[in-house]
């Protein structure tokens, strides 16, 4: 792997940037691997990377239907945080946030990490009670939550001029989560791809998996793709909203539903808001990107959906809610919108497990899975390599459904 540094930048600048080596190879496709990972998104690439780095399994192929990093990793709002609710979830996300903070160094790729704090604007007393309960649990696991007054809140976010005493939902106070940050989603995908490739992992783009193949004994045998059959005794499904589409080709049902979550972006403006603003009572959140755009998200579409568009009334509801607290944003012109289809599990927590089909692993149900990429990849690689769950993710296996021992996380994300 060509190391990126000030020296390599200077050297390549002098040679007119013609001599950079490709960040990853495009090797010929073999017909057998130790492990096949389906989906070159955040979780798939991270799993492949940690399989090679932590567990020495390098005969790995990552198969991607479209292009690397073009799925939900390119369709989210890059918020990295650990303010969750359950004892099972918080340590996992604390680990993931910590791993994200060291990722630039680990992968030798600038993640443009900006640990800029997330501030919740609290407008109802039930929400305040819920957040203070979360604060107490988060304290146990080393995550941070702190209440500030509405005066302090308005001092930190000058653009927050709505929600006064006469508003339908007056601003009560703020909750500050200093661990939160944002980074560059492309860098995460490319950084993991480049580092995994350097350790021998093969990444095959434009390779669509059409079905999973089972042996006579019922175990997983490989995958059928548009480029032929590829055999492997271990197959990892990391395809987000299409998880059930794939597992059903092997006759496996999972407690997942696919939904569409949308976001949109304004034109770039001068620096205005230096934190991630989350307004759970009004139902929207936003942050300002390094380019100056407001990156805005709201609630998911009602009902299951495999479409990646935005519905007009979802868009209108989000904008209406935003203008009630940030009336000056009325002048903003909107530039782009996008949707991503995510799968949500029965209890809104992720599923990482070896399924009933021996050798078939899934990582799914990631509602807000961007923040979980490093820890998700590491713990799934542990499961694939060792056959037993990593302690951080032991609660996220399918066992919780068998025992009706759910990890309810609806409400800590935009899920509803």
């Amino acid at each position: 792997m060509q190391k990126y540094s000030v020296l390599s930048l200077a050297r390549n600048a002098f040679s007119g940037h013609r001599n950079w080596s490709p960040a990853w190879r495009s090797p010929p496709l073999k017909n057998r691997y130790d492990v096949v990972v389906i989906g070159a998104g955040g979780h798939g690439l991270a799993t492949a990377y940690y399989l090679a780095k932590e567990f020495g399994i390098t005969d790995v192929a990552v198969l991607e239907r479209g292009w690397l990093g073009g799925g939900n990793i390119a369709r989210n709002t890059v918020t990295i945080r650990s303010n969750y609710m359950r004892d099972e979830s918080i340590p996992f996300y604390v680990k993931s946030v910590a791993m994200f903070e060291g990722l630039t160094h680990e992968l030798n790729f600038n993640m443009m990490h900006s640990k800029r704090t997330m501030v919740d604007v609290v407008q109802t007393w039930p929400k305040l009670r819920e957040l203070r309960r979360r604060q107490l649990v988060m304290d146990i696991y080393g995550s941070t939550y702190e209440q500030i007054t509405s005066e302090e809140l308005r001092r930190r976010i000058p653009a927050l001029t709505g929600g006064g005493p006469d508003a339908r939902l007056p601003v009560i106070c703020g909750m500050v989560h200093t661990d939160a940050g944002v980074n560059r989603h492309d860098a995460v995908a490319w950084g993991y791809a480049r580092a995994a490739d350097a350790r021998g992992v093969e990444i095959h783009q434009q390779t669509a998996v059409q079905s999973l193949l089972r042996s006579r004994h019922g175990t997983i045998e490989g995958v059928e793709t548009n480029r032929g059959t590829i055999r492997a005794n271990k197959v990892v499904v990391a395809v987000s909203g299409h998880t059930t589409t794939l597992t059903e080709t092997a006759g496996l049902k999972l407690p997942l539903r696919t939904m569409n979550l949308t976001a949109f972006v304004s034109e770039p403006v001068q620096p205005l808001v230096d934190v991630i603003v989350n307004c759970p009572d009004s139902g929207f959140y936003f942050s300002q990107s390094d380019k100056g755009e407001m990156v805005i998200g709201g609630a998911p579409d009602m009902g299951q959906s495999f479409r990646r568009d935005i519905k007009q009334h979802v868009f209108e509801d989000t904008v209406t809610a935003m203008l009630s607290l940030f009336p000056s944003f009325k002048k903003l012109k909107l530039m782009r919108q996008w949707g991503g289809h995510l799968d949500i599990s029965h209890d809104a927590s992720p599923i990482m497990d070896q399924t009933d089909i021996a050798g078939l692993f899934v990582t799914a149900g990631w509602w807000g899975g961007y923040k979980a990429i490093p820890a998700g990849g590491l713990t799934l690689a542990h499961l694939v390599a060792k056959g037993e769950p990593h302690p951080l993710m032991a609660s996220f296996t399918m066992d919780r459904f068998r025992h009706l021992d759910f990890v309810m996380e609806a409400g800590t994300t935009t899920a509803r």
Partner: protein, 85 residues
């Protein structure tokens, strides 16, 4: 945006409705199924790229509950309540 056919009010804007969840499997006799089948009944709903059956509540309208078949790829409503206009 969906235009959801209400049997009383005709085709109405989706924002008048509240989503009532997917129509799941018929409740089995708990004594007649094993644990795995019971858990499947409780947690697994069909998730096809195609028609799903779902409940909607005309909460900001006449208050009627209705069931439609909707395609998850196109949002086309394939089948509406019989007496919907």
């Amino acid at each position: 945006m969906l235009l959801i056919p209400c049997p009383y009010c005709g085709k109405r804007n989706e924002c008048e409705f509240i989503y009532g969840g997917p129509v799941g499997a018929k409740r089995p006799d708990p004594n007649a199924v094993n644990d795995a089948e019971w858990v499947e009944y409780l947690t697994v709903t069909p998730n096809p790229q195609g028609p799903v059956q779902e409940k909607w509540w005309h909460a900001r309208g006449c208050g009627e509950w209705l069931v439609i078949w909707r395609d998850t790829r196109t949002h086309d409503i394939m089948e509406a309540p019989d007496d919907a206009t």
